[in-house]
């Protein structure tokens, strides 16, 4: 980071910036932009963000308040592009507002898994010995527990709500992060450049922060990106089971679950929220996949 | 030396078509080898030695690789025109290959027996029992003690040197006429390297096959080869008898190579290093590829790519220094 700070202090150096940015991440970005699939993924994610931010502008109706029972189950029309649901609410508007929730799910759930998992995995990997043993046994136990049941139980404990579903999905994701981080830390720890930092008298904390962790980031970031997709799916699954978002919340899983009764008579009610979930998850998967390829050390040379 | 060459490579070009450009890995290689002869190919890493060998075997992955030009004549027949099936019956049978890294060149999940029997049965119509007997015979030949009981072992249960012996036994299983050894000793320790080189020499004497020995170690070349081809950036730069090459190296790259290695016999104060880096094969300099690193480079060298010529009988060089006046010596 220091290099960047230097750079900001001294704006004259900015001329050299392009050189600097030919870093690993810079390379990765250009590689992602070159790959068709990950570019599509990136576009979907950007679209999702734009839709979420501009939801009040984009949505033709209010997702909860507008609509009345009289207009229920209207098929797609000029007025309601994607039709209306069981309470006569505009499905398009609900999907648009649902984008906000999806982002929230992605950020919170993956955030929890990321922070807790990285911490546990990092500690286990870096300290080793019995600490490693204890942490990894706990992780083993969590892994032996069917994840969706773990999430369900957690929601049952915490109470049914979207937030709790996100927390549950996040906790369920912890073992994966912990394992990845641990194994990466273990392998990085043994790398010669870490040894050479030690041989140069660099202090332990700095070794961890500057030498070990930054080099663990690639697989973690990839995992995080891919996890966003999974988290959205899992949260939607919980909502579908009635354990996630509640009531009138325009969450896509809830929309699916609520619309399910009309499967035969008004299939659009479940078709579009399902497509929305699919598209967003696909976006994150495509992007994560591209990111993985772009950051693959074997491709670096 | 009056024999017909068993294998002749003519003007071979193998290119890799990658996203970032065309890699001209082999760019006009020609040589020949006679039965019973050992031909050395030396050159730096990335100079195209392995790709040359793989092209002969037609093992280049397509895409991205492609043999774009040239002929590979084995007993007068162009291998590049053979069908895949015909080629398979030649590989491992009449021409076989030993690779650099014995640690990774054997399939870790199969026993040595399976890997050997499989090869024998691919090319010979024999029963499994006969194939096993043959395998034992081969392992004996390469000097693996208590061969029969070791057949059931997996590769990881052997040491590096033994694995390389197994590789050689595998390559020999169908009495090949040409054995291509791609840096067979580079990954090994000197004492083990000595064992393997000794073994190869002995086997050649006993079985009389032609060996193409790829290496970057001039020492190995001097010890085992009859003739040598020096490669640089995908092109042959010098080709002659081994004594001739060591006594009268012609190409400046060969000179550099020779003075780069520290010699025990006469300790130099300072090594004559070749300056600079090998060129990027996607973007070769104009003219002679070696010119940018060549101490003797003339202006012309940066413009004209010299031809590979037999300036002296049985001694080919690719260098402008010899195009007009032949008198330059070391």
């Amino acid at each position: 980071m220091s290099a960047q700070m230097d750079l900001e202090q001294n704006s004259k150096v900015k001329a050299k910036k392009p050189k600097k940015e030919s870093s690993l991440w810079g390379d990765a970005l250009s590689r992602i932009l070159k790959s068709k699939t990950s570019f599509i993924g990136l576009m979907i994610i950007l679209l999702l963000i734009v839709v979420a931010v501009l939801a009040p502008v984009l949505a033709p109706y209010h997702p909860i308040d507008d609509g009345s029972i009289i207009d229920r189950y209207q098929p797609p029309s000029a007025e309601h592009w994607l039709g209306t649901d069981q309470l006569g609410r505009d499905i398009l508007s609900r999907i648009i507002y649902g984008a906000r929730i999806s982002i929230k799910i992605g950020v919170i759930a993956v955030g929890i898994a990321f922070v807790v998992g990285t911490l546990l995995g990092g500690i286990a990997g870096y300290i080793g010995r019995w600490v490693d043993n204890v942490i990894m046994r706990i992780i083993d136990i969590m892994m032996a527990f069917p994840s969706i049941l773990l999430a369900i139980a957690m929601v049952a404990i915490l109470g049914k709500s979207l937030t709790n579903a996100m927390i549950a999905v996040g906790i369920v994701g912890v073992p994966q992060f912990a394992r990845i981080v641990r194994s990466t830390v273990l392998s990085i720890k043994e790398k010669e450049f870490v040894e050479s930092a030690r041989a140069s008298g660099v202090k332990n904390g700095r070794i961890l922060m500057r030498h070990v962790l930054p080099n663990c980031m690639a697989p973690i970031i990839v995992q995080a990106t891919l996890s966003v997709g999974t988290a959205i799916l899992d949260a939607a699954g919980l909502s579908f089971l009635g354990l996630g978002a509640q009531g009138a919340t325009p969450e896509w899983g809830v929309m699916l679950s609520d619309g399910r009764a009309a499967l035969q008579t008004s299939p659009w009610v479940i078709t579009f929220p399902g497509l929305a979930i699919f598209l967003v998850v696909l976006g994150f998967n495509l992007f994560g996949d591209g990111l993985r390829d772009a950051l693959d050390p074997r491709l670096k040379q | 030396m009056e024999q017909e060459p068993i294998l002749q490579v003519e003007n071979l070009h193998t290119h890799f078509f990658t996203k970032s450009g065309v890699v001209k890995a082999v760019d006009g290689v020609s040589f020949d080898i006679k039965p019973g002869e050992t031909l050395g190919i030396v050159g730096e890493s990335g100079s195209g030695k392995s790709i040359t060998a793989m092209s002969i075997m037609r093992l280049i992955k397509d895409p991205p690789g492609k043999i774009v030009d040239g002929r590979v004549l084995f007993k007068g027949e162009n291998l590049l025109e053979k069908s895949k099936k015909e080629m398979r019956s030649i590989r491992g049978n009449q021409i076989s290959m030993v690779f650099q890294d014995p640690m990774t060149s054997l399939n870790p999940v199969f026993t040595v027996e399976k890997q050997m029997v499989e090869t024998i049965q691919t090319h010979r119509k024999v029963s499994k029992k006969e194939a096993i007997d043959r395998a034992v015979e081969l392992l004996d030949l390469v000097g693996i003690p208590s061969a029969r009981s070791r057949l059931k072992s997996y590769p990881h249960e052997f040491s590096g040197g033994m694995r390389q012996r197994v590789m050689i036994a595998l390559a020999l299983s169908c009495d090949p006429e040409v054995l291509i050894a791609d840096e067979p000793t580079t990954a090994l320790d000197v004492t083990i390297q000595a064992q393997i080189l000794e073994l190869l020499e002995r086997l050649q004497k006993e079985l009389g096959m032609a060996i193409v020995m790829i290496t970057h170690d001039l020492g190995v070349v001097a010890e085992v080869c009859d003739r040598v081809m020096v490669m640089y950036a995908g092109k042959p730069v010098e080709f002659s008898e081994v004594t001739e090459l060591f006594d009268h190296p012609k190409h400046p790259y060969t000179w550099g190579l020779m003075s780069s290695i520290p010699q025990i016999k006469n300790r130099q104060d300072r090594l004559e290093a070749i300056s600079g880096l090998p060129p990027d094969l996607r973007d070769l300099p104009q003219g002679c590829s070696f010119a940018p690193r060549c101490k003797h480079a003339m202006d012309k060298c940066h413009e004209v790519d010299p031809a590979f010529r037999e300036h002296i009988p049985a001694h080919h060089v690719r260098c402008l220094l010899y195009e007009e006046k032949e008198e330059v010596t070391t």
Binding site: S2, F193, S196 | V190, G219, F246, Q263, I264, I274
Partner: protein, 329 residues
């Protein structure tokens, strides 16, 4: 000449553990098993031996990158093998290391500048001084200062090795342990790096421990050479003396195994049978007896000690070589 470093009976045994819940030690890899030697100021000591014989472990144990199991490492008269914490860190200014793998030994997330600055930063060199020094060192190792904002993956192996060397030089060390610094490089590049190292040694008055398995390189660069076999030093001596007059059968075999780049030379190789035994279960007596063509009964039972074998500075550990008394140190 004075001894800058003296290693006495250095041992490093890696425990072999079994059991996942309650691991217990069931054996040890005796990677380094009683190594003693000394290095004089300003000289280059070559350390050769086959793969896995414990060369790197010795180097790391000297630096205390791995804690030695036993023995003393006396640097400038002080045993540094038990240094810990800040004391050990301070020592880093004096002894540095260069690694074999130019790809793995540079942090891929740091620019060249940061990499070279890292040791100075650790010892609190002011920024200005750091920058000057970086430019200077880059120049010294033959790189340009415009390289300093680049990342390691943008360099070739030889260039990376130069960066590694520059980093090792930042703290003005006295002793540099070079762990096979050229074996991953191509011959033509190898020569460049060797030349560079020789130049630097003169310029900065450095002492090198030069680990390699290439006997010709060691011959070229070293003043004295120690030959290792299975965690022990079997022979050590002045380079010319040792190469011209190897006493230990292993050294002899090693030397005769080097292919000489001279087609006219047709000699009898002394080819050793078999492979290096496992360091977790080394042979009793002389560890070399299993491969030694001259092994006798005593070799199987008694462990030979290093003893003077010629009037020069030349010792070997072999029962079959006569001790020569009256040499010097």
């Amino acid at each position: 000449m004075s001894n800058l470093l003296e290693v006495k009976n250095l041992k490093k045994h890696f425990p072999i553990k079994k059991g996942a819940i309650f691991p217990k030690q069931v054996g040890a890899v005796k990677a380094v098993d009683g190594v003693s030697f000394h290095v004089r100021k300003g000289e280059t000591l070559g350390l050769v031996g086959e793969s896995g014989c414990g060369k790197s472990t010795t180097g790391r144990a000297i630096l205390n990158l791995i804690q030695p199991s036993e023995g003393e490492v006396i640097y400038k008269g002080e045993d540094i093998s038990h240094y810990k914490g800040e004391k050990l860190r301070k020592l880093r200014q004096d002894i540095q290391i260069i690694f074999q793998d130019p790809y793995a030994s540079l942090n891929p997330r740091m620019t060249v500048e940061q990499i070279i600055a890292e040791p100075m930063r650790a010892f609190g060199t002011p920024k200005k001084e750091r920058e000057e020094k970086i430019d200077y060192l880059l120049d010294v190792v033959g790189l340009s200062s415009y390289h300093k904002h680049r990342y390691p993956h943008e360099f070739s192996g030889g260039q990376r090795q130069r960066i590694g060397i520059a980093r090792a030089l930042t703290l003005d060390p006295e002793l540099i342990i070079c762990d096979e610094p050229v074996s991953a490089l191509d011959v033509s590049i190898q020569a460049q790096v060797i030349n560079l190292m020789e130049d630097l040694q003169k310029e900065f008055d450095l002492t090198f421990i030069f680990i390699a398995h290439d006997l010709s390189v060691v011959h070229h660069i070293s003043d004295r050479v120690a030959v290792m076999y299975l965690g022990e030093i079997v022979e050590v001596g002045e380079v010319e003396e040792l190469y011209a007059n190897p006493k230990h059968p292993y050294t002899q075999a090693l030397l005769s195994a080097i292919p000489e780049a001279d087609p006219h030379l047709k000699r009898d190789r002394m080819v050793l049978e078999g492979d290096l035994p496992s360091p977790s279960n080394p042979p009793a007596g002389c560890k070399f007896h299993t491969r030694c063509p001259f092994a006798e009964e005593i070799c199987r039972t008694e462990h030979p000690e290093l003893k003077d074998v010629s009037t020069g500075d030349h010792q070997a550990a072999c029962h079959l070589v006569k001790e020569v008394v009256g040499s010097n140190g």
